[in-house]
């Protein structure tokens, strides 16, 4: 039985077309995976079903949900549908909940809006919903506030709110993108279980083919406001036909061609490094210190690409800051090119290592032109202005941009181009070591594939050394020679990447690999 039918949906926001003839169907009890890159219109399709759109949005076509024509309903009728017939789970659990209300009240609100039999009854049913979302009130009292929960737990609260009234349709918009890989696996299996138990239709929106592949019965691939291909999930293995879908699949599993690491001399040596954060001051002295990095030792050789994987809070970023000499270490030593690394180290040493961060936009001053942005590291190793100019042009060309892009501002570039500029900025002082801190995590898969190619090419041509920090095992597999797995401040496993990822020794590594969603193998692309 068809639960949701979207028929030739067109939508424009302030005259700018966003959706162009989207047609999708979803049966009760079915999981539909909607895949696409940013700007493809996948989230807008979801919000069109909810009819939660910006004021300037205009829809035409037909959306039928549980027999009702959503585009013909007035606002009160839509409010009665939302939450009762269709629930929604969002990407960002950290901000999706009201910070000033207890989780029990927030789940109970869904119930009271639609079926008010008093607060006691609503709280009892909220407790049921939270238990079904695997956040039982015995262990997580409903009087807690969102800030007292982790990201995964908050996402369970959002899910409990969405399923409290057992809606017919659940829309999950990138529900696990902001979560760690093990949490992601738990949330995905929770969504699958709830859909199965309630016979609920599940529309799972994701940029990640592997996430969808593990859960969906059918898939739809969207590009530029259109569905370019849809069908059973087996399409992923038995052959996608549309060129865009094939390119997307290829990019998801892209392995750049690399020469592999040389046996160069050791360029960075980390020995028994301990980084403590002092405990909070209390009336009775200090609370015990928090040990973020706990006795970490490793070497990186010149020309090598070393991966560092681990979940959020494992100490990756703290270790990165210590290696960059931004924070002192409490014990152990870090030496780079034979010299000690510490917060007061010389600029020439700093110029020898550069960093590229995750957010390509947040790390640029929007009021500076690209030439000034890229030339910024020269304050560490000053050169003559014409040399600087020449080197900036060289760096921009090295990352596949044009020297003439120097005169532009950062908002004139796409996300992938911005990350190229960030890499150019890291290259401009001709460093030996580049730290890539989740450098491709915010990029769409096709752009990510290009940036990975670029990184591989640069390391081959310029003999660069990388420390590649990521939570994403696919990316680490693609770009590193060796990998270290970090858990709770310690390195629990190290080895050649292929070996660690195929035959993990440590239980934590095994859990990480088991949790990571994978694409089914077949004659892909």
């Amino acid at each position: 039985m068809t639960l949701l039918a979207i028929d030739n949906l067109h939508m424009a926001i302030a005259g700018h077309p966003v959706l162009r003839g989207v047609s999708l169907e979803l049966a009760a009890g079915e999981v539909l995976g909607v895949i696409g890159e940013s700007g493809s219109g996948k989230s807008m399709t979801a919000f069109a079903v909810m009819q939660l759109l910006p004021d300037a949005a205009r829809c035409s076509g037909r959306i039928t949900l549980a027999g009702r024509d959503m585009l013909a309903l007035d606002e009160p009728a839509l409010c009665a549908m939302r939450g009762r017939y269709v629930g929604m789970v969002f990407q960002e659990p950290m901000t999706a909940l009201n910070p000033l209300q207890t989780i029990g009240d927030q789940v109970a609100e869904t119930i009271r809006i639609h079926d008010d039999r008093g607060q006691d009854d609503a709280l009892r049913r909220a407790a049921d919903a939270l238990t079904r979302a695997e956040l039982p009130p015995e262990r997580f009292p409903m009087t807690r506030y969102p800030h007292e929960l982790s990201g995964g737990q908050r996402q369970r609260v959002v899910i409990a709110m969405a399923i409290a009234l057992r809606p017919r349709l659940l829309i999950a918009d990138e529900p696990t993108t902001a979560l760690d890989v093990t949490t992601q696996a738990q949330i995905l299996s929770l969504l699958a279980r709830l859909a199965r138990e309630d016979g609920m239709g599940l529309m799972l929106i994701s940029h990640d083919l592997a996430v969808v592949a593990g859960l969906a019965d059918r898939i739809a691939i969207m590009q530029a406001g259109q569905v370019v291909e849809q069908g059973p999930v087996s399409l992923l293995t038995r052959g996608l036909t549309h060129p865009y879908s094939r390119a997307l699949l290829a990019a998801s599993t892209h392995q750049p061609a690399r020469d592999g690491g040389d046996d160069g001399d050791v360029i960075l040596r980390v020995r028994d490094v301990v980084r403590d954060y002092p405990g909070r001051r209390t009336l009775r002295g200090r609370a015990p210190a928090f040990r973020a990095v706990d006795g970490v030792s490793f070497d990186i050789r010149r020309g090598e690409s070393l991966g560092l994987v681990g979940e959020s809070g494992c100490g990756k970023s703290t270790l990165t800051r210590a290696i960059l000499g931004l924070e002192p270490v409490q014990r152990g030593s870090i030496t780079f090119r034979g010299q000690a690394v510490h917060p007061a180290m010389g600029n020439d040493l700093r110029a020898g290592m550069q960093v590229v961060f995750q957010d390509p936009y947040g790390s640029f001053n929007p009021r500076w032109r690209v030439d000034r942005l890229v030339a910024e590291p020269f304050h560490l190793a000053p050169v003559a202005p014409d040399v600087a100019r020449h080197r900036v042009a060289e760096a921009l060309e090295a990352v596949g941009l044009r020297a003439s892009d120097m005169q532009k501002y950062i908002h004139e570039f796409s996300g992938g181009q911005r990350q190229r500029i960030a890499i150019a900025r890291a290259l401009v002082t001709r460093p030996d070591l580049i730290l890539l801190d989740e450098a491709v995590s915010a990029l769409d898969v096709s752009v990510r594939a290009q940036v990975l190619d670029l990184l591989a090419d640069l390391s081959d041509r310029l003999g660069l050394t990388y420390l590649f920090i990521s939570h994403d095992l696919t990316v680490v597999r693609a770009i590193t020679d060796r990998v270290m797995v970090m858990q709770a401040g310690r390195i629990v496993e190290t080895g050649p990447t292929a070996q660690v990822l195929t035959a993990p020794q440590h239980p934590y590594t095994r859990a990480l690999i088991a949790a990571a969603p994978t694409l089914p193998t077949g004659d892909a692309a």
Partner: protein
């Protein structure tokens, strides 16, 4: 929560201590003789000596400071040099006008600003919003004494609903007192209400664009319900900050309005004391005002914690 209150109380005491030292230093330690400053150029040496004695200028610095603070703690603020009456009594009389006036004005300003700000935010960009914003523009731009004079013309001289000035006193009953404070309170409240409306509106608009509003709408709440149940409380923090600042201002900054309406308030007392070079009064009244402002800030801090559970947890 208890820790938070304790910590805030501690910072309140420290602020008071610092403020008392600064005020004491400003009046008594800076170069020049306060006694000869108060009496002017042609003072007689024996009058000067008597005043120096009365001001306690003959003791050591520490002694004088401790004497001053100790006196205040016991309710002894010294004796006014010009009026020859205890400062404590004078201040109490003036506070009986200024404090109710400030509270009255703040209540009015909040009563106008909350609905106006909410109404404008809910209609962002539409005609109602534009009209409210235009009105607040006017309210911010026009000085309050102009409003005051206008209201005297219309409501006191024209319609004769309210007195044109003066204060009836509380001994004639609550109504008589409030009646004579109404026009001044409105004059004080209008510009404050305009500012507060704008703060309320922009804080609400920020809150309405948050993800949790989208979550609330996905549950089935109407726009209005999402605004009232979720956005409003989240918008309160900046609004509380401004309310605290406005109260401090209203307590001491009403001097022009007090003059327009011939009200015996604190602002006029300070003005007169400064003109008469009565340092004893100035010193004490400033200390009392600082105390009032610090206490109001303390209350605002407590209100933050009542609104936001994250603040309660962090401290």
């Amino acid at each position: 929560m208890l820790r938070y209150i304790l910590k805030r109380s501690l910072s309140l005491l420290v602020s008071l201590l610092i403020a008392s030292v600064v005020i004491f230093a400003a009046v008594e330690v800076v170069p020049g003789d306060p006694a000869s400053y108060m009496l002017g150029m042609n003072a007689q040496p024996d009058t000067l000596a008597a005043l120096r004695d009365e001001l306690g200028l003959n003791g050591s610095l520490i002694q004088r400071y401790l004497g001053w603070v100790g006196g205040m703690l016991q309710g002894d603020f010294g004796v006014s040099y010009t009026y020859r009456t205890p400062v404590a009594g004078m201040v109490a009389d003036r506070l009986a006008v200024s404090l109710p006036l400030a509270i009255y004005a703040l209540a009015l300003s909040t009563a106008i600003a909350f609905p106006a700000g909410i109404w404008a935010a809910a209609r962002r960009g539409r005609l109602g919003d534009t009209m409210v914003m235009g009105a607040t523009q006017l309210g911010v731009a026009v000085p309050n004494f102009w409003f005051a004079m206008l209201m005297v013309l219309v409501f006191a001289i024209g319609l004769r609903w309210f007195p044109a000035g003066g204060f009836a006193g509380w001994d004639k009953g609550l109504w008589a007192g409030l009646h004579s404070l109404t026009l001044p309170a409105i004059a004080l409240a209008l510009p404050q209400a305009a500012i507060l409306t704008r703060v309320m509106r922009s804080a609400l608009i920020d809150a309405l664009s948050e993800d949790y509003i989208r979550t609330a709408r996905a549950k089935g709440l109407t726009r209005g319900q999402a605004l009232r149940r979720h956005a409003l409380r989240n918008a309160l923090i900046p609004v509380l900050t401004i309310i605290g600042m406005q109260f401090s201002f209203l307590l001491a900054g009403a001097i022009i309005i007090e003059n327009v309406f011939y009200l015996p308030g604190l602002g006029r007392l300070i003005f007169q004391a400064i003109s008469a070079r009565d340092l004893i009064v100035v010193e004490s009244v400033v200390m009392i005002l600082v105390f009032g402002v610090i206490v109001v800030n303390f209350a605002v801090d407590l209100a933050y914690a009542a609104v936001d559970p994250r603040l309660r947890a962090r401290e």
